[in-house]
């Protein structure tokens, strides 16, 4: 701090820490400079002057909205795929003569399909977010950590102000472009978000939601990885669209749950009330597209690896009880139920034998208890036992 005592406005502008405070401040910079000004009030004039020059030189930024951001990413993915295929085809040209004798069409198909795999990825990453911290990333790239177990976030109607667990944060009101925000909830935590249009979103453990702070486009679009329950505010002029993996859910105003955890390989949508249109556009060589109109109490499941879809009528409350800290199952594979318990408590559960995972589980689990107690409840309904390892992992044994 000493060296700054004789700084002029120009010196301040040449200082990396000072500049970082003006352009993209973190906690360190904020604390340091507020403290500095308080301790050295006579430096205020120089700092003010430096700020004036900074403001004159700082210009408005062009931004891509969510649609454009996504569209551009899709193009990059497509282009990457094409270029690997060209390399592959070039290779094939030389290899073809040799291989022709041996290869059946099926094997070639296998190769082409697998040559594409490395470049199959999603805009919203399928890896769990780095770090174990629940956080919200604002349009300017700054991050706010959400310290509570269950965080509440709500936006003002103009999107400029958001309240995070009773702290108010002001966002720069940008241009007419959408300002993209992102909430990341790691395993073991949850969050409730009220978007600027009044739509409520309950975000389950291990999930991410990407959305604009205010909806300025013709449709209200958000992107989801993981699981969320939506209570969409009615607005017939601006349909609400949730994109989860390859599924687009179009709604006007309704309540529904989507679960699209990358590790599950199954996207599941359950409609509680209203009407939604589900659009699926498959990738890869068997390009497939279809639209499903869902009715209340319907569950729609899509296996992403095979493209197989099934639908059935269900008791919706069982699928949305996680919001209230409960899990309800009706003839659910044990492996899927344990996956949910894992995410909720941020623990690892392994099976001693994969066959155990196929037991069907029915019943109610109160997640307010410790994971050990939850496993004991499960023990009562299916013939299993469990052990806790020294590294904190749980192992499920058959009986």
């Amino acid at each position: 701090m000493e060296k700054y005592r004789d700084y002029t406005a120009v010196d301040f502008l040449n200082d990396e820490s000072f500049l970082k405070w003006l352009t993209n401040p973190g906690q360190t910079e904020n604390d340091f400079w507020h403290d500095f000004i308080q301790k050295h009030p006579y430096k205020k004039a120089e700092i003010k002057e430096a700020t004036v020059v900074f403001k004159l030189f700082h210009s408005n930024e062009e931004k891509l909205d969510l649609n454009e951001t996504y569209e551009l990413w899709t193009r990059i993915q497509r282009e990457a795929k094409v270029s690997t295929r060209t390399v592959f085809l070039k290779f094939m040209k030389y290899a073809a003569i040799l291989l022709l004798v041996f290869l059946s069409g099926g094997v070639t198909y296998y190769f082409i399909q697998h040559s594409e795999k490395p470049y199959y990825f999603e805009l919203a990453e399928t890896v769990p977010p780095a770090g174990n911290e629940a956080r919200i990333i604002l349009a300017d790239g700054s991050e706010v950590s959400l310290e509570k177990q269950i965080s509440e976030i709500s936006y003002s109607t103009n999107g400029r102000q958001l309240i995070v667990n009773n702290d108010t944060i002001n966002q720069q009101s940008g241009t007419q472009k959408e300002q993209i925000n992102k909430v990341i909830i790691p395993y073991g935590k949850k969050s409730m978000i009220v978007l600027s249009d009044g739509t409520k979103v309950w975000l389950n453990a291990g999930s991410q939601l990407i959305y604009p702070s205010v909806f300025v486009n013709k449709t209200r679009q958000v992107m989801l990885i993981g699981e969320a329950y939506f209570d969409v505010a009615k607005n017939p002029d601006k349909p609400f669209i949730v994109r989860a993996s390859d599924i687009y859910v179009h709604v006007v105003g309704t309540r529904f749950d989507i679960s699209a955890y990358p590790e599950d390989k199954v996207i599941q949508t359950v409609l509680e009330e209203g009407k939604v249109n589900l659009k699926y556009s498959g990738k890869g060589i068997l390009k497939e597209e279809f639209v499903v109109e869902m009715v209340p109490n319907q569950k729609f499941e899509l296996d992403i690896s095979t493209g197989q879809a099934k639908s059935q009528m269900v008791d919706v409350s069982k699928y949305v009880s996680w919001k209230e800290g409960m899990l309800e199952f009706e003839k659910v594979d044990l492996i899927r139920a344990l996956k949910q318990v894992e995410r909720y408590y941020n623990i690892r559960i392994r099976l001693a034998n994969p066959m155990i995972g196929l037991y069907k589980l029915s019943g109610k689990l109160d997640l307010k208890d410790e994971p050990e107690e939850v496993l004991n409840v499960i023990k009562l309904t299916v013939p299993i036992d469990w052990q806790k390892k020294s590294n904190g992992d749980f192992v499920i044994l058959g009986k």
């Binding site: 700082h58 930024e61 805009l123 890896v127």
Partner: protein
């Protein structure tokens, strides 16, 4: 409530990408796409061209992954690739009479819209002086200022993007700052006070301690 430093996250992503993890590229893309788009739009009004070039930058990133190292600065690498790509595209399709070279290309720098509004309250003479000062900046000076004050880059990073040495890029910015300061310090104290006043109406976070 506090914000989190994401430098280490950034490094982690880069390392994982270099090791062959394509999943993280989408995160790298999300982190940098807006900065890249804005930087690109400074060279041309053709937004579609900028998008095409960003696409190309990411595609070639996947192709040339093996030649990159862990110590590379992702952000700088992306900015530099994008600039090179856009300028070479502009050279190809240049229909204007002006000849573009690697060292001579236009760069757009204008102050923020709300700054314009605030300056409207200012007396004509002073505003003219500030506008003139902005317009008299050379294109390279504008780019250096942009990289410093919008992107928040360090002088060494700026030198790398402008193909200048450290001293020259520092001097470019220094001269521009001095010019503005001279105008701000025109003897008329009253105007001076007024200027500070209106410029600071929205200044945060420096002045929240004054209350």
């Amino acid at each position: 409530m506090h914000s989190v430093e994401n430098k280490s996250d950034e490094r982690l992503l880069w390392t994982r990408f270099l090791k062959g993890d394509n999943q993280v590229l989408s995160l790298i893309y999300l982190q940098h796409t807006n900065s890249l788009f804005d930087y690109g739009c400074r060279f041309t009004y053709d937004k579609d061209l900028v998008k095409d070039c960003i696409q190309e930058v990411f595609c070639s990133l996947m192709r040339t992954r093996h030649n990159l190292s862990e110590t590379d600065n992702i952000r700088l690498y992306l900015l530099k690739s994008l600039k090179r790509k856009i300028i070479s595209e502009l050279k190809k399709h240049n229909s204007q009479t002006r000849i573009l070279t690697d060292q001579d290309y236009p760069f757009d720098l204008h102050w923020s819209e709300n700054m314009d509004e605030q300056l409207n309250d200012l007396d004509e003479e002073k505003r003219q002086l500030l506008t003139d000062a902005m317009q008299s900046l050379t294109e390279r000076q504008k780019e250096a200022i942009y990289l410093r004050f919008n992107r928040g880059l360090e002088y060494e990073e700026i030198s790398f993007l402008l193909n200048l040495n450290y001293q020259s890029s520092r001097a470019l910015i220094h001269r521009a700052i001095e010019k503005l300061r001279q105008i701000i310090h025109v003897p008329n104290k009253k105007i001076n006070q007024y200027l500070f006043c209106i410029l600071h109406k929205r200044a945060e976070p420096v002045f929240e301690h004054e209350n």
